[in-house]
């Protein structure tokens, strides 16, 4: 029996893990976990739209997530509700709407478990390539904007007075996040993608003394979680996505034993 599928799964998962480090660290610093959840839940709606319009699932999900990110950016700017409440409403509405829409599409047979918790073992070489293209582009963008992003995270007004284009850079970051959520959904599903972004970053905090250090350690921990989760899934016959998140959570628990750097 060919083990190719396992190698593709590892390659795809590692691509996401590398990107999860810096992107997830920024999410943790800016407290955007809820924002990520909302995007992820919206991805389900994207799946329904894809089936409805008979376009490729990946494309539909990507554009739905990007569209949702733009809506969130506009709503945030207009300050209708506290951001937290707003995201709470949108996040769960999007999830419910996605589930209802999927049920309403005639003849649609959807593997709900794969959507919610991921299905890394059925990832295609094409999808792996898409992940690595995204990872490469996103790392280049994050690298170019890194100092500005940290500056905004630390003190937004100060960054603005110093000439940083705060609005544009925040928008770029959030669109990247949307693209990663849409792409990473395949690996760990809409319910767990935020975990893959947040948990390794949170675990890296005590192991790093600089923002870049934390991002790099987070990438390494995410990679470790992906590979160990895959191995666990192989030997114990457990679902892959949850296995990866369980390993990540275990690493987080271990990191609490480390004295802060």
């Amino acid at each position: 029996m060919s083990l190719d599928f396992l190698y593709w799964a590892a390659a795809g998962g590692l691509g996401l893990a590398v990107l999860a480090g810096p992107l997830g660290s920024l999410m943790v610093w800016q407290r955007l976990a809820y924002f990520g959840d909302t995007l992820a839940h919206g991805a389900l709606l994207g799946v329904a739209l894809g089936l409805w319009l008979r376009i490729g699932g990946g494309t539909a999900v990507l554009f739905t997530c990007l569209g949702l990110a733009i809506v969130l950016l506009i709503l945030e700017r207009s300050r209708i509700l506290a951001a937290d409440t707003l995201l709470g409403i949108l996040s769960h509405s999007a999830l419910a709407l996605g589930l209802v829409a999927l049920a309403l599409i005639p003849g649609a047979r959807v593997n709900m478990e794969a959507l919610l918790f991921g299905d890394l073992l059925t990832i295609t070489p094409r999808e792996v390539a898409a992940i690595w293209v995204l990872t490469t582009v996103a790392l280049a963008v994050l690298g170019g904007l890194w100092t500005a992003l940290i500056s905004i995270t630390v003190q937004e007004d100060l960054a603005r007075v110093e000439g940083v284009r705060v609005g544009a850079i925040k928008a770029v970051y959030k669109l990247l996040l949307a693209a990663v959520v849409a792409t990473g959904m395949k690996a760990v599903g809409v319910l767990l993608i935020t975990a893959l972004l947040i948990i390794p970053a949170a675990s890296a905090r005590r192991l790093a003394r600089t923002p870049e250090g934390m991002a790099a350690v987070a990438s390494a921990l995410a990679a470790l979680a992906v590979l160990s989760g895959l191995a666990a899934s192989w030997w114990l016959d457990t679902p892959v996505g949850p296995s990866i998140v369980v390993v990540a959570a275990g690493l987080f628990a271990l990191s609490l034993a480390v004295r802060p750097a």
Partner: protein, 243 residues
């Protein structure tokens, strides 16, 4: 830059949040090279006015003009860094200026040359303010804008910080716009005081303002007395005894 042209001029600036008016037709000119202090009770619109002057906020009505090529160094009122972000003092400064030598010089300028490697989360109130001041200096500013610069600093530290601010003005020749809620703290460090309560109640030298009926009505006798007490010590600018 010509001394006669104001660095920033606000004309007829009004602003309200929700339906609550915060600023009502405020005129303000910030001249080059002088220390101007905005004073007023909390909620009087000081920070709003500063944010409008900086261009961080748009006024509902009125105009803001800034001198061409104006470089502003800004010290925000608060620095809340998420504890999950590992950041040293040196790195904080390098967010604004790549060159480490320039950053170290700014730290020396504000009296904390040894804190380069210290995590920002481990700084005292006074050290944090000095670090923020150092970052503002990195811009080689024509104008320093300091929003409550002694917040979270103990009384001795406050005097030292005001002395430093006065010193910096002498050395750098920049103008300073400062926000405070307490006149007696800034008496010695300021050239001109503007008392704000939604509109400008009174303005002038610290001495004039402290005796102005509008000021006394706003702050009560206590601060006015403090101010009066200071009037008799105006030779001794940097070592007032607040005991």
């Amino acid at each position: 830059m010509s001394v006669t042209v104001p660095l920033i001029a606000l004309r007829g600036v009004s602003k309200h949040f929700e339906r609550h008016p915060v600023l009502d037709r405020v005129d303000l000119e910030i001249p080059a090279g002088r220390i101007l202090t905005l004073i007023g009770p909390s909620g009087c619109g000081k920070t709003t006015l500063v944010r409008i002057a900086l261009g961080l906020l748009q006024p509902d009505t009125g105009t803001v003009s800034r001198a061409a090529g104006l470089r502003i160094g800004y010290m925000p009122q608060k620095l809340v860094i998420d504890p999950t972000l590992p950041l040293s003092v040196g790195r904080f400064l390098q967010l604004a200026e790549r060159d480490p030598a320039t950053c170290r010089a700014a730290l020396a300028e504000t009296g904390i040359p040894d804190l380069w490697g210290r995590p920002v989360s481990a700084l005292s109130g006074g050290e944090t303010q000095r670090m923020l001041l150092a970052r503002a200096l990195l811009r080689r500013p024509d104008l320093l804008v300091l929003d409550e610069p002694v917040q979270g600093v103990d009384v001795t530290g406050q005097e030292a910080l005001y002395a430093l601010i006065g010193d910096l003005r002498q050395r750098l020749g920049c103008a300073i716009l400062m926000v405070s809620h307490d006149l007696h703290l800034v008496m010695a460090a300021t050239d001109e005081v503007i008392c704000l309560n939604g509109h400008i109640c009174c303005h002038g030298t610290p001495r004039q303002v402290s005796l102005d009926p509008a000021f006394v009505a706003l702050f009560g006798q206590r601060q006015a007395l403090y101010a009066h007490h200071h009037d008799h010590n105006h030779d001794d600018h940097h070592s007032h005894d607040h005991g």
